[in-house]
């Protein structure tokens, strides 16, 4: 299973923010879309970073006046990104071992989506549920015959 399977049922919305916007604006986006991270893109649409709720929590603990900071001041710049043909299982292993929860997906350098660890868990669960269901059906038919 490739991650294109996950993206196909996520519409085409990608929530992005510009590096010079504020953390206040970023929080508003996270709340409005019920998401855990927002992609940071340049004026030309290139991916320049990712900002997660964890990044903001870390900043808030040490700086109570974080709201007006620029996104670029605390975003993660070294972003791991994927492509639609990446394997779900490989992505799951990498997200777990490298401890990140959101994967931007690029196609020919352009951002086309984001996949969360939650999406991966759901896709894997559905795959297992489906396999179990199909195997059960076969076993029942074997017993019946």
């Amino acid at each position: 299973m490739t991650i294109s399977t996950i993206l196909a049922r996520k519409g085409v919305k990608v929530v992005t923010i510009r590096p010079e916007q504020t953390l206040r604006e970023a929080l508003a986006l996270l709340a409005q879309h019920s998401i855990g991270a927002v992609l940071v893109t340049s004026a030309s649409g290139a991916l320049v970073g990712i900002l997660s709720e964890r990044d903001i929590v870390r900043e808030a603990v040490k700086n109570e006046r974080f709201f007006d900071l620029a996104v670029s001041s605390i975003m993660t710049r070294d972003v791991i990104s994927g492509t639609p043909g990446d394997d779900v299982n490989a992505v799951a292993a990498t997200m777990t071992s490298k401890r990140f929860r959101h994967l931007p997906v690029l196609d020919a350098g352009r951002v086309i989506g984001v996949i969360s660890l939650g999406d991966i868990v759901k896709a894997q669960r559905d795959e297992y549920l489906g396999a179990i269901d199909t195997l059960e059906t076969q076993i029942i038919s074997e017993r019946a015959s």
Partner: protein, 474 residues
Amino acid sequence: MTGAPGTIERPLRVAIIGAGPTGFYAADQLFRQDNLVVEVDMFDRVPMPFGLVRSGVAPDHQKIKSVTAAFDKIAGHPRFRFYGCVELGKHLTVEDLRAHYHQIFYATGAQTDRRMGIPGEDLKGSHPATEFVAWYNGHPDYQDHQFDLGVERAAVVGVGNVAIDVARILCRTPEELAKTDISEQALEALSRSRIEEVYLLGRRGPAQAAFTNPEIKELGEMAGADVVVDPREAELDPLSRAALAQTGDRATTKKVEILSSYAGKAPTGKPRRLTIRFLVSPVELVGNDAGEVTGIKLVKNELYETPTGTLQPRATDETEILPVGLVFRSVGYKGVPLPGVPFNDKWAVILNEKGRVLDLETRQPVRGEYTAGWIKRGPSGVIGTNKPDAVETVACMLEDLANGAVMEPSAPTAEAADALVRARQPQCLSYDDWRHLDALEIERGRAAGRPRVKLTRLKDIQAALEERGGAGNR
């Protein structure tokens, strides 16, 4: 009208387009809701229900087909109707459906294959694997297709489930095939097949191949064909070995083991050979002056690791030509757009979010329209995978119903819809028609010692129904 539909006086009316597993799983999930009265009308462009369970699942995999017993139970619900031979865009439009239903559920699957995109792809003897599958499974649209089984060598490009099915069917003996419900036409043609060598071509290594362990094991149990794997190709490359050590995935470990066992075995002299190749990609089909395939040019691949840990193939400069007279491509499938339904060209799926169809311009949900299965997420998973997928979409349907976001049909009755469908397609088939044909096929099979002998031509189907007393009786 006041209040939401879903009561005995005013049932929720749902049109399901596509009578494959996803459509049945959705109907089942709708019927399971307490305190909701639902009428489901299910449409399919072919005469018979069950989609790929009937026309995709290989004939020598009858156990997998037994899932139809569950679908049959669902079809027995008093508020379920089936209309075969009715096609959206040909007999009915989305506007027609909006006049008679509160919700529309698209489950039309992935109907075409992806192309390899290489020179020579359209030479004579080069076919999409899906056409061969539809042919041997008796799909009415493919019964006039011709496949030249007089050649000695065939290649199947891909190592997914469909590729394996095609390779296995090509290798089966007439005696093995005669025990299945393969179409009579295919049985006859395959019995005269002169094929001796079948190649299965995977672009990545053994650890990345999509086939499942039971399938790969089954290959080793064929009566008339030896499985051949080059030991050098069965051995894992360092990247695959490291990835497998990290994840410890049991299924993959077992798969590699089974393939290695094939690599260590000498052929036993069975009349046919199935050779599984890894780390090769076709770059060109080579032909003769008559425009027929004579070979497939392969490039040797090596694997590299992407930032997400996926191992992808990269071409080296080493090439070879395999002499083959028949090529089946099975490199992926894709959905086709439905007239009047927003389509995401990039993914070849209906544009959707969790199954809610989205408007192309506004990206907002289109009221009352939903999708699930391969046309929602692309072709992946086994039959059962469509169940959680359909359930997710039905949850959206129920949520929208609770919020009053359904369509407002002008004539929301089963009678009005039935009259329209019969006016547009007088030859439509009902579920009772299917039950009659099903019994007939099984009866024909019993005489021949087979699970069933399929009716594969529209004229035969219509004749069988007329003999009973007319098509379309409920």
